[in-house]
Amino acid sequence: MKQPSVRVRTHRAASPWLFLIPGLGVIAAFNLYPFLTTVRKAFTDARTLTPGSWVGLRNFQDMLDDDQFWVALRNSGLYVLLVVPFTVLLPLLLALLVHKRLPGVTFFRSAFYTPVVASVVVVSLIWVWMLDDRGLINGILRFFGAGPVAFLGDEWLLLFSAMALTVWKGLGYYMIIYLAALADVPRELHEAAAVDGAGALRRFVSVTVPALRSTMVLVGALSSVAAFKVFSEVYLLAGPTGGPAGQDTTLVMLVQRTGTGLSGRVGYASALSLVVFVIALLLMLLVLRADRKESAS
């Protein structure tokens, strides 16, 4: 900002836009424009091969009568409710475990990150094999005299297994976010609390948690949006049709199933997409707002 006069003369008026064309072009063509298309088509009865015509709010009315929609909304909502508490808490505990400087601790940090690097398809297939009726987990259960459990045969067990997979895959990612925040917590706070005779649990609740609150909110916001949009884990564990009687379909799975293929109901799928967009945005705002209110009080 210091020397505008010099810099203005050194480039012609056109060149900033030459810099921006590739980036803006891609964003406009493949992100913003498709979004406008989605909004427009949500009010039509378009199909894959026909452009369709205006039907007003009919797609949204159809949604209310669509059992599949309610199942999918329930599953995606449950995903947020049950996954987010674990992705906020477990990675924090993990970060506390590896943030002390001990020999070999960097190795453990990197190792804990491995599931993040792997494709969700790869880890889902690994889990399918582990959760097999005669797989590793049932082998371990049998050692303790339990099981076998048909994890992938029951609609609820399947959904819970997918949730566990999501939490597991995110552990390392959110751990790194917490580690960065922990580095900024003043050590003196802990020491003062320790001198005052506060035990480890007490120090965690009254020193660590308040200092990391904004990071916990950030992780909560990121993971709620991610959990609501869940697709791959459930698709791979439950199969394209969404498990027993389609009871494990999530909202994005429903979008994918409804809107693609030669007979895809593009209009209806666009309306579903809008619902995904609005709820994801609301979730983000809700979590961030809760943070502001709490810090105000």
Binding site: L32, V121, D132, V255
Partner: protein, 276 residues
């Protein structure tokens, strides 16, 4: 320094080993399964972790069923293209947003922020119909295009350029360097760390992506590895050895990349989370 007692140390290592088993164990189990021969019972109780007669047979076996190496090549093409387009597009746009003054700069910056708020999941159907209208569906070009320049990468590059001191460019201005020369010779070499982050996350994102390639690719000749593995899983799931070999092919390159470039992976999480 607070001292760590011997007991606490032992407990910490014990817990870290337990988490290690939970996070890395499944990959080792999969690796072990992929080396177990057709004659070896993979359902033994108790589960056997070491293959009795290790064999590479499953790797050639999986290649007989699906062209796994062609799929790997497709994934590699997509991932490398994604790296190049993101490096070029994001650094150019980021530089303009951070360093050039022009009318409409705020609006251009806003476009990238808005794009960040639109989840890909809510525009895939529109992208799919668009690719069909362009006669690009079922091509690798269609797989690459929507992510060719990520909005988050543009904002990361903008921040990196904005944090450079102005002085280094002022000297070049006085020497008569034009804007392209300043960009290429001075600004770009100064943000190598962020460029590495963008490159790595572009590679990983493209290599691991599933939903979009699944939607846009219908012909099995053009599958990427993730879509190919899904197909393998759906059709041949009765032989876990082959699926295991396929997943190892898909995950090994990224684990090697991660082992070599860890600090950029960690840096990318920090920077991406703050902006995202």
């Amino acid at each position: 320094m607070t001292r760590i007692s011997g007991w606490e140390k032992a407990l910490r290592y014990l817990l870290m080993l337990a988490v290690l088993g939970i996070t890395v164990g499944p990959f080792l189990w999969q690796l072990s399964t992929s080396f177990k021969g057709a004659s070896e019972d993979i359902y033994t109780y108790p589960p056997g972790f070491l293959p009795e007669h290790p064999t590479l047979g499953n790797y050639s076996g999986v290649a007989d069923i699906i062209p796994v190496w062609d799929y790997a090549l497709n994934s590699l093409k997509v991932a490398l293209t994604n790296v190049v387009t993101n490096l070029v597009g994001a650094s150019l746009a980021g530089y303009a947003l951070a360093r050039l003054r022009f009318r409409g700069r705020r609006l251009a910056g806003l476009a990238f922020v808005v794009a960040l708020l639109v989840p890909l999941e809510s525009v895939v159907i529109a992208q799919f119909t668009m690719m069909r209208d362009l006669h690009l569906n079922n091509t690798l070009t269609a797989v690459v295009l929507p992510g060719a320049v990520g909005a988050l990468n543009v904002l990361l590059m903008r921040n990196a350029f904005a944090n450079l001191p102005y002085e280094i460019e002022e000297a070049a201005v006085i020497d008569g360097a034009n804007v392209w020369q300043r960009f290429l010779r001075i600004a770009l070499p100064s943000v190598r760390g962020t460029l590495a982050v963008v490159a790595i996350f572009s590679f990983m994102g493209a290599w691991d992506d599933f939903l979009w390639p699944l939607i846009v690719l219908s012909d099995s000749d053009h599958f990427t590895l993730t879509v190919g593995l899904n197909y393998l899983h759906g059709t041949f799931q009765q032989n876990p050895r082959l699926v295991a070999a396929g997943t190892i092919v898909a995950v090994a390159p990224l684990i090697v990349l991660f082992a070599c470039l860890q600090r950029y992976f960690f840096r990318g999480v920090g920077e991406g989370a703050v902006k995202g």
